[in-house]
Symmetry: C3
Subunit: 143 residues, 3 copies
């Protein structure tokens, strides 16, 4: 992984063969980044994505081994059990330019992974919401 | 809706059962947010999206009642008739991880809706452009 | 093209008939923007997108002449041969709201093109990586 500090965050280049979620999570732990906005593009393989089944309160998962374009990666970083946790959704496209998408569990960079992380100076955290079946964001104010 | 102030905007958690466009528009009116950048992810239902037919100058619309992952939400906020107006496009994925997408009219949060709003200190507004058939952005400079 | 200066960048409205990549690249050259984050939405036509074939180290390309919603546009700007270079991926949707996506070569605005460019005060550049077959980002630090 290469990176460079920018005004309120980092440009991050996750390199070929590196796992995106694992690499950036470790980067956040090391650099004490508790909250952030994260977005990026690239080309990935060995992708596991899913969709949340709200009735059964679990993720339906699919794996894609081939190389796909990482068309869109949008996510946020919050604290879960006091550790930086990335919640990210992706759209990926194959060589026909057809698209799949969903919640990202993990993906390995096949060519490049180019991300911009914008730090947020806050301590938003996640706690299990039993009604929803997911650890949801906990914030200060309510409207 | 939960929210927390961040450096130049807000993290916003639109909660289960709340309408995204309606909730965030009300939030912008209340907090005098005239211009902003808005992005997010989540899981939504009762979704109305569309594509603009440039020949007939009207939107083709489709509704999706089931729960879909909100894979990508990108938008901007400007003034239309002096009121904050959100223009947002989304990609959504079903339980097969197949994707649909387009201009978002409205969607209800099915599990979570996690957004980051970055305020822009400006007064960009929209005015009907009769050639295009849409209220388009009006800015200061021309290149 | 219309634009307005914002806190750390620009709101950019690429107008009907203008080419997105060409217009924004020229804008970056003129305004000496070497590094930036770029995102946007709109409606486009005469679109050329592709997927990188990592085995043959070349892009597979497809063209779409009709008008499509620009559902998501995410990119970054870095220096390539000392000139600002946009690397962007897009998702586009047709009138059935079906989606295609990939690496964007060029697209012409069919109705509107609404972008937000956030300048990054840095000198990240691209250099051909022969193992990958693409000009990849070169940054200061390694983790």
């Amino acid at each position: 992984m290469q990176f460079t500090k920018i005004e309120n965050g980092y440009m991050i280049y996750v390199e070929k063969g590196e796992n995106i979620m694992e690499s950036i999570t470790q980067f956040c732990i090391k650099n004490k980044i508790n909250n952030a906005q994260l977005s990026g593009i690239g080309a990935v393989k060995n992708i596991e994505i899913g969709a949340f089944d709200t009735d059964n309160k679990k993720y339906i998962r699919q794996n894609f081994e081939d190389t796909w374009e990482l068309v869109s990666y949008q996510g946020n970083i919050s604290l879960k059990d006091d550790i930086p946790f990335i919640h990210a959704h992706v759209a990926i496209s194959d060589h026909n330019l057809d698209i799949k998408g969903g919640h990202l569990f993990e993906a390995t960079v096949a060519a490049v992974g180019e991300f911009i992380l914008r730090k947020i100076d806050n301590n938003v955290y996640r706690e299990l919401n039993e009604d929803i079946g997911l650890p949801t964001l906990c914030m200060v104010d309510r409207s």
